[in-house]
Symmetry: C2
Amino acid sequence: MISQKMKQMVEQSAAMSAMFTEGKRLAAIYGAENVYDFGIGNPNVKAPASVNATAIEILQNMDSLKVHSYTDSSGIPAARKAIAESLNHRFGTNYDESNLVMTVGAAGGLNVILKVLLDAGDEVLTFAPYFGEYDNYVMNVGGVLHPVPPNPPDFLPDVDALSACITPKTKAIIINSPNNPTGVIYDAGTIEKIAAVLRQKSAEYGTDIYIIADEPYRELAYDGVEVPYIPNFYENTIVAYSFSKSLSLPGDRIGYLVIPSTVSDFAEVSMGAAIANRVLGFVNAPALQQMVVAKCCEETTDVAFYNANRELLYNALQEYGYSCAKPQGAFYLFVKALEDDDKAFCEKAKEYRLLVTPGSAFGCKGYVRISYCVARETIENSLPSFKALAESYKK
Amino acid sequence: MISQKMKQMVEQSAAMSAMFTEGKRLAAIYGAENVYDFGIGNPNVKAPASVNATAIEILQNMDSLKVHSYTDSSGIPAARKAIAESLNHRFGTNYDESNLVMTVGAAGGLNVILKVLLDAGDEVLTFAPYFGEYDNYVMNVGGVLHPVPPNPPDFLPDVDALSACITPKTKAIIINSPNNPTGVIYDAGTIEKIAAVLRQKSAEYGTDIYIIADEPYRELAYDGVEVPYIPNFYENTIVAYSFSKSLSLPGDRIGYLVIPSTVSDFAEVSMGAAIANRVLGFVNAPALQQMVVAKCCEETTDVAFYNANRELLYNALQEYGYSCAKPQGAFYLFVKALEDDDKAFCEKAKEYRLLVTPGSAFGCKGYVRISYCVARETIENSLPSFKALAESYKK
């Protein structure tokens, strides 16, 4: 007999993992090349060559005992130092290894920091649409996620709506820019407004409100748009980063938390993060991967590849009559469904062998997410299907 | 402001991680070679050569996209199949990939299965002395760990005491054999008695009681002693396994859960485990490591090395007047402290540059754990200190 909560999760498990399975099922029937799976954020750009070369070099030349042993709960000091220096260089910060905690991806990092900050019943905010797992991550530690309502059609945060959502129980707000699922990047002015509201409400309630900046898509920005570095705008910011996208290492499960020395109760938050890594069962981020990203953290993925995918798909969908905000980052389009019910629209899309994710999985009905981190041919070959799908609604 | 629970954890954080830091501090003062750190279970035997060779082969020859991509939440099917077949061959079972879930070590596996099974307030039992992290793992999902009192001096489970601890809220019992910290292996007769009690109480209360067999030390058995395979004794057994010790890969964070098809509500437990892997932020066990252990799962570590350490240290301690049950497995001695207060004894030991862990960290006061997975010279060089420590109590 499984737990009541897990029973619900099994039932709701929904969009993300169902999509994964559905893609395989349709591929088995129609052939993989005839199914256009835009459901999953699995990068289609290879990791930089230096990643494998570095891993091989470590495995060949380093003392095997050291390669495979437990690391400190917060990670290998030299790896944390290398990343701290890279961040200092890029963002004018002044971090050292004490500000970094290596984690099992950003997902691990988010669970760690929520475990540190939240008591049962505490509230976390985020702007809808949002990555649906946030609900689970917050629930894991007994907290409650309150989404700030979506702000279509450009999906920039509605800061007044944020202000109205803050209560004395608000411990944190998760900000995800470049955003999954919209691709929107929050500009400096928006971040400043958010920071001002948080400062005002913290003062009003006598509380600390942390920004948790979930930044797996930081390096994926197009058209020369800059992604503001949120800790430089708001002192109580903790960053959760992942190399899943920037180095195309999603299966490797490697990322980090940045805990600036300026955050409230820095020493406790920092020690708590190391403890949380241990007690949540991560123990340490995978050791080999820590060493690899320490050497490769200044590398980045082939942003031009994603950009070409973005242009191709965005322009085609515009032409076929779909509407969507042109994304400046990440690798998703968030497109208005052609009927009110986004789930029904996704079912309809399947008839055209198109797999897309309903917006309701991101707290925003009436839209669908199209993940364009796929092979170029997938997009090219899918275009007639997108066209036919649009035309089926014009009849 | 961190959470109240985490505040307690920061305060209690205690033995395990304090030991780690303390070793480094003393090593800095006296030189690493003059500090005898028996505190941590970090194997001192290198991973089999095939591990690094396999990893390099994968990194050199396999499609890089596949090496680094997300895997199914429950793990790569081929890896699960390879391990299932290895288990079938060793234990006469009939598993396939549907019975395996790849996890971030046994620590990850335990958190996953507890997340699946427990509602808030549910109870989990374990025999003291026990790995202190069980308290945290159970607490993570709102459950309560009730230790069955220790049964010195041989530390075999007291099955009558177990029976008295079972209530209608008992969801599971964690069994850890070979045991950390005692090194005791539970024989077949003992497992049968435990199974009988669980069946009787399940029937009496109309509940399912699962055994969670935490088996990171399975391969570390000495004197030809066989470690009974608990699923063959009790149908509701789930195994949490780790390659941390068997292949000396603790930093790699790779292990698995075995969920036999015979467990109650198999389909839900199995699907729940995949979901729990995802929502707890593990997402998937590290992909490269999954592929490596799939190829190397029939390899094992140098048990003879640990056995020689065991004989050397056990015999010396006996000679100096310490008393302890001779361990048949794992790589720990659980030794009676030479004064009632085990923490005071550990402090006294530090004066002799000996780092050992108080039994109270394992729910068993008056004893200390000595981890002998260290270099041979560490044991050899430490013996005068152990002797002098014993003599200091005879004055």
